[in-house]
């Protein structure tokens, strides 16, 4: 059976590895699957600003 002739095996396996990994996979990975658009919430969250909670020196410019 010519498939059992091992002289060509190295070349075949090498070319399969090459094709499968370096040729096909980048092509498939370039397919972009964007998720469906989700509605953004219109009410924004309350911001916790740290500078309002502590009284600092700048509120009293004379000192």
């Amino acid at each position: 059976m010519p498939q059992l002739d091992t002289s060509t095996w190295f070349l075949t396996i090498l070319s399969v590895m090459l094709t499968l990994f370096t040729l096909l996979q980048p092509k498939i990975s370039m397919h972009l699957y964007t998720p469906n658009p989700k509605p953004m919430p219109t009410k924004t969250q309350k911001q916790h600003s740290p500078w309002n909670t502590a009284w600092t020196k700048i509120y009293l410019p004379l000192l």
Binding site: M1, P2, Q3, L4, D5, T6, T8, W9, L11, T12, I13, L14, S15, V16, M17, L18, T19, L20, L23, L24, Q25, P26, K27, I28, S29, M30, H31, L32, Y33
Partner: protein, 226 residues
């Protein structure tokens, strides 16, 4: 007669240069890479098929197994396109070569087993002993389970090779029989031609199914080991 039948399975050499590499790389030309936001119909259809197939394949895996999804999808694409291109007359099918199938099966199977051993050592070793075996059967069963594990890659490779080779050989034989019968009796030649048509339809199905089975089994071995 023997020599004539099997020559189509020898690795093709043209003018002394082995062109098997070019033949293996040829199906990748048929999958153009998407470059734009809205692509042409060919790429859109392929993208839809890839998404459909990858969802079906990877839904049973957890997030660790899903890292293999790109490899498995490109594997099934490669095997399907190679098998289908081999249905063209006088073409060479690389999947009939045992070397190529072993080169695909052994690393993938070994990858799943090694991943299982590294991450979940106890659970993957526990696969060797099914639940509820009587105590005196344990040594024999461990040996049997080990052998059945070690035979998985060989079975994967030989299954694909044998199916595709046998189908191609059968088509050659029946085609030669139809041709020989045409000069003897036209009616028998017609019957044989009907058989050939049915066989061709079967071969198309086999080409698709074999790719599916190969990838499904690799995915199964992955599931066991993640």
């Amino acid at each position: 007669m023997n020599q004539n039948l099997f020559t189509s399975f020898m690795t093709p050499v043209m003018l002394g240069i082995p062109i098997i590499t070019l033949i293996i790389m040829f199906p990748t030309i048929l999958f153009p890479a998407p470059t734009r936001l809205i692509n042409n119909r060919t790429i859109s259809i392929q993208q839809w098929l890839t998404k459909f197939r990858s969802k079906q394949l990877m839904i049973t895996h957890n997030s660790k197994g899903q890292t293999w999804s790109l490899l498995l999808v490109s594997l099934i694409l490669f095997i399907t396109s190679t098998n289908l291109l081999g249905m063209l007359p006088h073409s060479f099918t690389p999947t009939t070569q045992l070397s190529m199938n072993m080169g695909m099966a052994v690393p993938l199977w070994a990858g799943t087993v090694i991943m299982g051993f590294r991450n979940k050592t106890k659970a993957s070793l526990a696969h060797f002993l099914p639940q509820g075996t009587p105590t005196f059967l344990i040594p024999m069963l461990v040996i049997i389970e080990t052998i059945s594990l070690l035979i998985q890659p060989v079975a994967l490779a030989v299954r694909l090779t044998a199916n595709i080779t046998a189908g191609h050989l059968l088509m050659h034989l029946i085609g030669m029989a139809t041709l020989a019968l045409m000069s003897i009796s036209l009616f028998t030649a017609f019957i044989t031609f009907i058989i050939l048509t049915l066989l061709t339809i079967l071969e198309f199905a086999v080409a698709l199914i074999q790719a599916y089975v190969f990838t499904l089994l690799v995915s199964l071995y992955l599931h066991d080991n993640t």
